[in-house]
């Protein structure tokens, strides 16, 4: 089964945080690879979104949207670097 780009997270993450996350630089907690969240490998044919590091394939971010809530797991991201301008 194949994956798509982190771009697909743009809508769901903007719904939660109100800002665009795809241009945010995330650093993988597992291997230290840093890249825009738009470049994560996202497995979306699942009960939620599972975004994996393009370098080591570990999970960086997970998102589940229930009818009333969003659950976000960022354990796999050591840091998020958010452009403010």
């Amino acid at each position: 089964m194949t994956y798509v780009d982190g771009n697909v997270l743009a809508g769901p993450l903007a719904e939660v945080f109100g800002v665009d996350f795809t241009a945010v630089t995330g650093t993988c907690a597992s291997c230290g690879f840093a890249a825009a969240l738009a470049t994560l490998r996202v497995y979306s044919t699942a009960p939620g979104f599972v975004a994996r590091c393009p370098s080591c394939e570990e999970v960086v971010l997970r998102l589940v949207r229930t009818p009333t809530e969003a659950w976000v797991d960022l354990r796999g991201a050591r840091s998020l670097r958010v452009p403010l301008t």
């Binding site: 194949t2 994956y3 798509v4 780009d5 982190g6 771009n7 697909v8 743009a10 809508g11 903007a14 719904e15 109100g18 800002v19 665009d20 795809t22 241009a23 825009a36 969240l37 738009a38 470049t39 979306s44 044919t45």
Partner: protein, 247 residues
């Protein structure tokens, strides 16, 4: 033309279909009127939500095909055989019909017309859609940055925007087609998948430092992005948008 890419929290808006145009036998361009639409950047996409009478609802993401123009949002949708949403949008939704739409979303795979770097666009199949928005935005802004579009498509009949692209290929814009299944008789390249030789010959050289945008099915994007990087393009300047089958 600095716009806020995502102004505040996303909300669903009602979109009314105002115009339909055929691109190919299986792809149509749909123009929606979306009151309150905040504008968008070329390369961004929208989520479209359909809800059945019993409350069942499902959503898909589609790239926006044209640059911001008031409250219009233009999508070109490739019908996926046996799909759930795309056949409804391309065949069943009548002019005047309504769906829900939210966006614009995505701040990474976007081109801003103030960027001075040359632009290399590489499209696979319906991956042309967000790249066409960039090409059109360049023209609308009167930008003079050199732009090169490499468009891989199965056959001449499956090209999107064929007439418009023919007219666009002037004044700093080059367009090259790569046919993968069936090429016109006068195309010496024949029909085959895009490869190293194609990109080496037709893409901007790496030392030109172009902004590269690659959009298409996952396998296509993988091949093209890897090849561009092998040809010396800085990975930070190669932006990709892969899509899986979106029925």
């Amino acid at each position: 033309m600095a716009r806020t890419a995502v102004p505040g929290r996303l909300t669903w808006r009602v979109a009314t279909l105002t115009k339909v145009a055929d691109e190919t036998p299986t792809a149509r361009t749909l123009t929606f009127d979306v009151p309150g639409w905040p504008g968008h950047l070329p390369g961004q996409h929208v989520d479209v939500r359909l809800t059945a009478e019993d409350g069942y609802s499902t959503q898909r993401s589609y790239s926006i095909a044209e640059p911001a123009d008031g409250e219009h949002v233009v999508l070109t949708i490739q019908e996926v055989a046996d799909g759930e949403v795309s056949p409804y949008l391309t065949r069943a939704l009548p002019v005047g019909g309504q769906v829900e739409l939210r966006g614009p979303v995505g701040g990474w795979f976007v081109w801003r017309d103030a960027e001075p770097a040359p632009v290399l666009l590489v499209a696979g199949g319906s991956g042309i859609v967000p790249l066409a928005a960039m090409l059109r935005a360049r023209a609308a802004a009167g930008s003079r940055v050199p732009l090169r579009l490499l468009y891989s498509v199965r056959s001449p009949a499956e090209r999107f925007y064929a007439d418009e692209l023919r007219g666009a290929a002037t004044g700093g814009v080059d367009i090259t087609y790569f046919y993968t299944r069936e090429a016109p008789p006068d195309d010496p390249r024949g029909a085959k998948r895009i490869g190293l030789a194609d990109l080496n010959t037709h893409a901007w050289p790496a030392d030109f430092e172009p902004s590269c945008f690659v959009c298409g099915p996952t396998g296509f994007v993988e091949t093209v992005a890897d090849t561009l990087i092998a040809l010396g393009h800085d990975p930070r300047r190669v932006r990709t948008e892969r899509f899986g089958p979106s029925g």
